[in-house]
Protein backbone atom coordinates (compact mmCIF):
# COMPACT_ATOMS: atom_id res chain seq x y z
CA UNK A 1 0.00 0.00 0.00
CA UNK A 2 1.33 3.45 -0.95
CA UNK A 3 1.91 6.28 1.53
CA UNK A 4 -1.08 8.52 2.22
CA UNK A 5 -1.35 11.67 0.11
CA UNK A 6 -0.39 14.77 2.06
CA UNK A 7 -0.58 18.55 1.53
CA UNK A 8 1.48 21.53 2.71
CA UNK A 9 -1.49 23.54 3.97
CA UNK A 10 -5.27 23.57 4.39
CA UNK A 11 -5.69 25.78 1.33
CA UNK A 12 -3.48 23.49 -0.77
CA UNK A 13 -5.75 20.58 0.16
CA UNK A 14 -8.85 22.68 -0.60
CA UNK A 15 -7.60 23.67 -4.07
CA UNK A 16 -6.51 20.13 -4.86
CA UNK A 17 -10.09 19.07 -4.08
CA UNK A 18 -11.55 21.83 -6.26
CA UNK A 19 -9.25 20.87 -9.13
CA UNK A 20 -10.33 17.25 -8.81
CA UNK A 21 -13.96 18.33 -9.04
CA UNK A 22 -13.42 20.36 -12.20
CA UNK A 23 -11.69 17.50 -14.00
CA UNK A 24 -13.99 14.66 -12.90
CA UNK A 25 -16.68 12.93 -14.95
CA UNK A 26 -19.37 14.28 -12.59
CA UNK A 27 -18.58 17.77 -13.78
CA UNK A 28 -20.16 16.92 -17.16
CA UNK A 29 -23.19 15.24 -15.61
CA UNK A 30 -23.68 18.18 -13.21
CA UNK A 31 -23.31 20.70 -16.03
CA UNK A 32 -25.94 18.88 -18.11
CA UNK A 33 -28.28 18.42 -15.18
CA UNK A 34 -28.10 22.07 -14.11
CA UNK A 35 -28.44 23.40 -17.68
CA UNK A 36 -31.68 21.41 -17.70
CA UNK A 37 -32.73 22.71 -14.30
CA UNK A 38 -31.91 26.26 -15.42
CA UNK A 39 -34.21 25.81 -18.43
CA UNK A 40 -36.88 24.33 -16.18
CA UNK A 41 -36.61 27.30 -13.80
CA UNK A 42 -37.14 29.67 -16.71
CA UNK A 43 -40.07 27.59 -17.91
CA UNK A 44 -41.83 27.76 -14.55
CA UNK A 45 -41.40 31.52 -14.24
CA UNK A 46 -38.89 31.62 -11.38
CA UNK A 47 -35.80 33.85 -11.49
CA UNK A 48 -32.21 32.83 -12.22
CA UNK A 49 -31.12 34.15 -8.79
CA UNK A 50 -33.78 32.09 -7.10
CA UNK A 51 -32.20 29.04 -8.77
CA UNK A 52 -28.65 30.08 -7.79
CA UNK A 53 -29.63 30.51 -4.15
CA UNK A 54 -31.55 27.24 -4.13
CA UNK A 55 -28.50 25.46 -5.57
CA UNK A 56 -26.36 26.74 -2.68
CA UNK A 57 -28.99 26.22 0.04
CA UNK A 58 -30.81 23.07 -1.03
CA UNK A 59 -27.93 21.50 -3.01
CA UNK A 60 -29.89 18.46 -4.15
CA UNK A 61 -31.04 18.32 -7.77
CA UNK A 62 -34.10 16.09 -7.12
CA UNK A 63 -35.38 18.34 -4.33
CA UNK A 64 -34.80 21.38 -6.51
CA UNK A 65 -36.71 19.88 -9.44
CA UNK A 66 -39.64 19.00 -7.16
CA UNK A 67 -39.54 22.52 -5.72
CA UNK A 68 -39.36 24.24 -9.12
CA UNK A 69 -42.18 22.20 -10.65
CA UNK A 70 -44.56 22.59 -7.69
CA UNK A 71 -43.89 25.94 -6.06
CA UNK A 72 -45.54 28.05 -8.78
CA UNK A 73 -48.35 25.66 -9.60
CA UNK A 74 -50.34 26.12 -6.43
CA UNK A 75 -49.60 22.70 -4.92
CA UNK A 76 -50.25 22.40 -1.18
CA UNK A 77 -47.18 23.51 0.80
CA UNK A 78 -47.52 20.40 2.94
CA UNK A 79 -47.29 18.21 -0.14
CA UNK A 80 -44.23 20.02 -1.50
CA UNK A 81 -42.43 19.78 1.84
CA UNK A 82 -43.31 16.10 2.10
CA UNK A 83 -42.16 15.29 -1.43
CA UNK A 84 -38.92 17.21 -0.86
CA UNK A 85 -38.27 15.54 2.47
CA UNK A 86 -38.95 12.08 1.05
CA UNK A 87 -36.58 12.81 -1.85
CA UNK A 88 -33.96 13.92 0.70
CA UNK A 89 -34.06 10.77 2.83
CA UNK A 90 -31.19 9.31 0.81
CA UNK A 91 -28.93 12.07 2.20
CA UNK A 92 -29.22 10.58 5.66
CA UNK A 93 -27.41 7.29 5.01
CA UNK A 94 -24.88 9.16 2.86
CA UNK A 95 -23.92 11.47 5.72
CA UNK A 96 -23.85 8.51 8.11
CA UNK A 97 -21.43 6.68 5.81
CA UNK A 98 -19.24 9.71 5.07
CA UNK A 99 -18.63 11.01 8.60
CA UNK A 100 -16.39 8.18 9.81
CA UNK A 101 -14.13 8.76 6.77
CA UNK A 102 -13.82 12.49 7.51
CA UNK A 103 -13.55 12.34 11.26
CA UNK A 104 -10.07 12.22 12.77
CA UNK A 105 -8.87 12.17 16.39
CA UNK A 106 -8.91 15.99 16.69
CA UNK A 107 -11.96 16.77 14.55
CA UNK A 108 -14.51 19.10 16.15
CA UNK A 109 -18.23 18.93 15.39
CA UNK A 110 -18.15 22.35 13.74
CA UNK A 111 -15.55 21.16 11.22
CA UNK A 112 -18.08 18.62 10.01
CA UNK A 113 -20.93 21.13 9.46
CA UNK A 114 -19.77 22.20 5.99
CA UNK A 115 -19.13 18.67 4.64
CA UNK A 116 -22.54 17.69 6.04
CA UNK A 117 -24.28 20.44 4.09
CA UNK A 118 -22.23 19.63 0.97
CA UNK A 119 -23.30 15.97 1.01
CA UNK A 120 -24.90 15.06 -2.33
CA UNK A 121 -24.57 12.15 -4.74
CA UNK A 122 -21.67 13.58 -6.77
CA UNK A 123 -19.40 14.59 -3.89
CA UNK A 124 -20.32 11.50 -1.89
CA UNK A 125 -19.28 9.04 -4.58
CA UNK A 126 -16.02 10.87 -5.22
CA UNK A 127 -15.26 11.44 -1.51
CA UNK A 128 -15.64 7.78 -0.64
CA UNK A 129 -13.42 6.91 -3.59
CA UNK A 130 -10.64 9.48 -2.99
CA UNK A 131 -10.51 10.35 0.71
CA UNK A 132 -9.19 7.04 2.08
CA UNK A 133 -5.91 7.62 0.19
CA UNK A 134 -5.45 11.07 1.76
CA UNK A 135 -3.82 11.70 5.13
CA UNK A 136 -6.46 12.15 7.80
CA UNK A 137 -5.91 15.81 8.68
CA UNK A 138 -6.32 16.99 5.06
CA UNK A 139 -9.50 15.08 4.28
CA UNK A 140 -11.98 17.76 5.39
CA UNK A 141 -10.40 20.65 3.42
CA UNK A 142 -10.01 18.39 0.37
CA UNK A 143 -13.64 17.35 0.64
CA UNK A 144 -14.75 20.99 1.02
CA UNK A 145 -12.75 21.98 -2.06
CA UNK A 146 -14.20 19.11 -4.05
CA UNK A 147 -17.74 20.05 -3.00
CA UNK A 148 -17.23 23.76 -3.62
CA UNK A 149 -16.00 22.90 -7.12
CA UNK A 150 -19.14 20.91 -7.83
CA UNK A 151 -21.42 23.54 -6.33
CA UNK A 152 -19.80 26.33 -8.36
CA UNK A 153 -20.16 24.24 -11.53
CA UNK A 154 -23.84 23.61 -10.82
CA UNK A 155 -24.52 27.28 -10.05
CA UNK A 156 -22.81 28.57 -13.19
CA UNK A 157 -24.52 26.06 -15.49
CA UNK A 158 -27.88 26.84 -13.87
CA UNK A 159 -27.48 30.41 -15.17
CA UNK A 160 -26.34 29.08 -18.56
CA UNK A 161 -29.45 26.90 -18.91
CA UNK A 162 -31.75 29.68 -17.73
CA UNK A 163 -30.54 32.19 -20.30
CA UNK A 164 -30.23 29.62 -23.09
CA UNK A 165 -33.87 28.62 -22.55
CA UNK A 166 -34.87 32.28 -22.75
CA UNK A 167 -33.13 32.82 -26.08
CA UNK A 168 -33.19 29.53 -27.96
CA UNK A 169 -35.66 28.45 -30.67
CA UNK A 170 -38.46 26.20 -29.29
CA UNK A 171 -37.02 22.87 -30.46
CA UNK A 172 -33.65 23.45 -28.77
CA UNK A 173 -35.34 24.83 -25.65
CA UNK A 174 -37.38 21.61 -25.60
CA UNK A 175 -34.10 19.69 -25.82
CA UNK A 176 -32.77 21.53 -22.76
CA UNK A 177 -35.91 20.74 -20.78
CA UNK A 178 -35.45 17.10 -21.76
CA UNK A 179 -32.02 17.07 -20.05
CA UNK A 180 -33.50 16.92 -16.55
CA UNK A 181 -35.64 13.78 -16.94
CA UNK A 182 -32.88 12.08 -18.98
CA UNK A 183 -30.00 12.74 -16.59
CA UNK A 184 -32.22 11.87 -13.60
CA UNK A 185 -33.41 8.65 -15.18
CA UNK A 186 -29.87 7.47 -15.97
CA UNK A 187 -28.23 8.54 -12.72
CA UNK A 188 -31.04 7.03 -10.64
CA UNK A 189 -30.80 3.81 -12.62
CA UNK A 190 -27.04 3.78 -12.14
CA UNK A 191 -27.37 4.27 -8.38
CA UNK A 192 -29.99 1.51 -8.14
CA UNK A 193 -27.73 -1.39 -7.32
CA UNK A 194 -30.15 -3.45 -5.28
CA UNK A 195 -33.30 -5.04 -6.75
CA UNK A 196 -35.46 -3.03 -4.35
CA UNK A 197 -34.17 0.25 -5.82
CA UNK A 198 -34.65 -0.90 -9.40
CA UNK A 199 -38.19 -1.98 -8.62
CA UNK A 200 -38.89 1.36 -6.89
CA UNK A 201 -37.72 3.13 -10.04
CA UNK A 202 -39.93 1.10 -12.38
CA UNK A 203 -42.99 1.33 -10.11
CA UNK A 204 -42.56 5.08 -9.72
CA UNK A 205 -42.35 5.53 -13.50
CA UNK A 206 -45.70 3.71 -13.87
CA UNK A 207 -47.60 4.88 -10.78
CA UNK A 208 -46.62 8.57 -11.03
CA UNK A 209 -48.30 9.26 -14.39
CA UNK A 210 -51.21 6.96 -13.51
CA UNK A 211 -52.08 8.99 -10.43
CA UNK A 212 -51.72 12.19 -12.44
CA UNK A 213 -54.15 10.91 -15.08
CA UNK A 214 -56.57 9.83 -12.35
CA UNK A 215 -56.18 13.32 -10.86
CA UNK A 216 -55.32 12.00 -7.39
CA UNK A 217 -54.28 14.67 -4.89
CA UNK A 218 -50.78 14.52 -3.31
CA UNK A 219 -49.79 12.30 -6.24
CA UNK A 220 -46.02 12.43 -5.63
CA UNK A 221 -46.42 11.39 -2.02
CA UNK A 222 -48.64 8.45 -2.97
CA UNK A 223 -46.32 7.47 -5.80
CA UNK A 224 -43.48 7.22 -3.31
CA UNK A 225 -45.40 5.46 -0.56
CA UNK A 226 -47.15 2.95 -2.83
CA UNK A 227 -44.26 2.30 -5.25
CA UNK A 228 -41.56 2.30 -2.58
CA UNK A 229 -43.47 0.11 -0.14
CA UNK A 230 -44.43 -2.40 -2.86
CA UNK A 231 -40.78 -2.60 -3.92
CA UNK A 232 -39.75 -3.07 -0.31
CA UNK A 233 -42.34 -5.82 0.29
CA UNK A 234 -41.18 -7.71 -2.82
CA UNK A 235 -37.62 -7.36 -1.50
CA UNK A 236 -38.66 -8.80 1.92
CA UNK A 237 -40.53 -11.71 0.36
CA UNK A 238 -37.53 -12.55 -1.85
CA UNK A 239 -35.19 -12.34 1.12
CA UNK A 240 -37.47 -14.59 3.15
CA UNK A 241 -37.65 -17.13 0.31
CA UNK A 242 -33.90 -17.42 0.11
Amino acid sequence: MSAPITFSSTSAAFFAGAKTALTSVFMLVLAGTYIGIGALTHDFGLSSWWLAISTVLVWAAPAQVILITTVTTGAALFEIALAVTLSGVRLFPMVVALMPVLRGPTTRLRDLLLPTHFTAVSMWVESLRLLPAIENQWRIPFCNGLSAGYMATATVFGFVGFYLAAGLPPLLAGGLLFLTPMSFLMSTARNARMMVDKLGLVLGLVIGPLLTVLDVGLDLMWTGLIGGTLAYLVHRIREAAR
Binding site: V84, R90, L91, V96, T116, G174, L179
Partner: protein, 115 residues
Protein backbone atom coordinates in the same frame (compact mmCIF):
# COMPACT_ATOMS: atom_id res chain seq x y z
CA UNK B 1 -44.98 46.55 0.52
CA UNK B 2 -47.20 44.14 -1.35
CA UNK B 3 -44.84 44.12 -4.34
CA UNK B 4 -41.88 43.35 -2.07
CA UNK B 5 -43.81 40.50 -0.46
CA UNK B 6 -44.75 39.06 -3.85
CA UNK B 7 -41.11 39.20 -4.90
CA UNK B 8 -39.83 37.56 -1.74
CA UNK B 9 -42.53 34.90 -1.50
CA UNK B 10 -40.72 32.31 -3.74
CA UNK B 11 -37.57 32.74 -1.62
CA UNK B 12 -39.55 32.24 1.57
CA UNK B 13 -41.09 29.08 0.10
CA UNK B 14 -37.66 27.86 -0.96
CA UNK B 15 -36.45 27.97 2.63
CA UNK B 16 -39.68 26.67 4.17
CA UNK B 17 -40.58 23.75 1.87
CA UNK B 18 -37.22 23.24 0.11
CA UNK B 19 -34.21 23.93 2.30
CA UNK B 20 -35.57 22.85 5.70
CA UNK B 21 -37.26 19.54 4.74
CA UNK B 22 -34.15 18.56 2.73
CA UNK B 23 -31.46 19.72 5.17
CA UNK B 24 -33.05 17.95 8.11
CA UNK B 25 -31.74 14.59 6.80
CA UNK B 26 -28.19 15.86 6.63
CA UNK B 27 -28.50 17.16 10.20
CA UNK B 28 -29.94 13.83 11.39
CA UNK B 29 -27.11 12.03 9.63
CA UNK B 30 -24.51 14.14 11.43
CA UNK B 31 -26.14 13.65 14.84
CA UNK B 32 -26.94 9.96 14.47
CA UNK B 33 -23.91 8.99 12.40
CA UNK B 34 -23.11 6.14 14.75
CA UNK B 35 -26.58 4.63 15.02
CA UNK B 36 -27.55 3.15 11.68
CA UNK B 37 -25.90 1.48 8.76
CA UNK B 38 -26.78 1.70 5.09
CA UNK B 39 -28.40 -1.73 5.00
CA UNK B 40 -30.80 -1.30 7.93
CA UNK B 41 -34.45 -1.95 7.05
CA UNK B 42 -35.66 1.63 7.60
CA UNK B 43 -32.94 2.95 5.32
CA UNK B 44 -33.71 0.39 2.59
CA UNK B 45 -37.43 1.24 2.69
CA UNK B 46 -36.91 5.00 2.67
CA UNK B 47 -34.50 4.74 -0.22
CA UNK B 48 -37.11 2.79 -2.20
CA UNK B 49 -39.73 5.45 -1.42
CA UNK B 50 -37.33 8.22 -2.44
CA UNK B 51 -36.47 6.41 -5.68
CA UNK B 52 -40.16 5.94 -6.55
CA UNK B 53 -40.86 9.65 -5.96
CA UNK B 54 -37.98 10.61 -8.19
CA UNK B 55 -39.20 8.19 -10.87
CA UNK B 56 -42.66 9.79 -10.62
CA UNK B 57 -41.12 13.21 -11.21
CA UNK B 58 -39.13 11.90 -14.20
CA UNK B 59 -42.20 10.30 -15.81
CA UNK B 60 -44.30 13.42 -15.30
CA UNK B 61 -41.62 15.63 -16.86
CA UNK B 62 -41.58 13.42 -19.97
CA UNK B 63 -45.33 12.71 -20.26
CA UNK B 64 -46.88 15.99 -19.08
CA UNK B 65 -44.26 18.67 -19.77
CA UNK B 66 -44.90 22.38 -19.78
CA UNK B 67 -43.62 24.91 -22.28
CA UNK B 68 -41.24 24.10 -25.12
CA UNK B 69 -40.92 20.37 -24.44
CA UNK B 70 -44.71 20.03 -24.70
CA UNK B 71 -44.54 21.20 -28.32
CA UNK B 72 -42.61 18.05 -29.23
CA UNK B 73 -45.01 15.12 -29.86
CA UNK B 74 -45.58 12.63 -27.04
CA UNK B 75 -44.47 9.68 -29.19
CA UNK B 76 -41.12 11.38 -29.91
CA UNK B 77 -40.58 12.05 -26.19
CA UNK B 78 -41.31 8.46 -25.20
CA UNK B 79 -39.24 6.87 -27.99
CA UNK B 80 -36.32 9.22 -27.23
CA UNK B 81 -36.41 8.23 -23.55
CA UNK B 82 -36.32 4.55 -24.51
CA UNK B 83 -33.47 5.15 -26.99
CA UNK B 84 -31.51 7.02 -24.31
CA UNK B 85 -32.05 4.28 -21.76
CA UNK B 86 -31.09 1.46 -24.14
CA UNK B 87 -27.87 3.28 -25.09
CA UNK B 88 -27.19 3.89 -21.37
CA UNK B 89 -27.45 0.14 -20.73
CA UNK B 90 -25.45 -0.77 -23.84
CA UNK B 91 -22.66 1.69 -22.93
CA UNK B 92 -22.02 -0.02 -19.57
CA UNK B 93 -24.38 2.33 -17.69
CA UNK B 94 -22.75 5.52 -18.90
CA UNK B 95 -24.96 8.46 -17.91
CA UNK B 96 -23.43 10.84 -20.46
CA UNK B 97 -23.81 8.38 -23.37
CA UNK B 98 -27.46 7.73 -22.47
CA UNK B 99 -28.31 11.41 -22.07
CA UNK B 100 -26.61 12.34 -25.35
CA UNK B 101 -28.40 9.57 -27.25
CA UNK B 102 -31.78 10.53 -25.79
CA UNK B 103 -31.18 14.18 -26.64
CA UNK B 104 -30.10 13.35 -30.20
CA UNK B 105 -33.22 11.23 -30.73
CA UNK B 106 -35.44 13.99 -29.35
CA UNK B 107 -33.91 16.71 -31.52
CA UNK B 108 -34.03 14.59 -34.68
CA UNK B 109 -37.59 13.45 -33.95
CA UNK B 110 -38.66 16.96 -33.02
CA UNK B 111 -37.08 18.39 -36.18
CA UNK B 112 -38.86 15.80 -38.39
CA UNK B 113 -42.25 15.75 -36.71
CA UNK B 114 -42.91 19.16 -35.23
CA UNK B 115 -45.88 20.50 -37.18
Amino acid sequence: MNAVLTELWPYFLMVLVGYLPNEIWRAFGLVLARGLNEDSEVVVWSRAVATAILAGVIAKLVLFPTGALGAIPLSVRIISSVVGFVVFLAAKRSVSAGVLAGEAALLIGGFLFVP
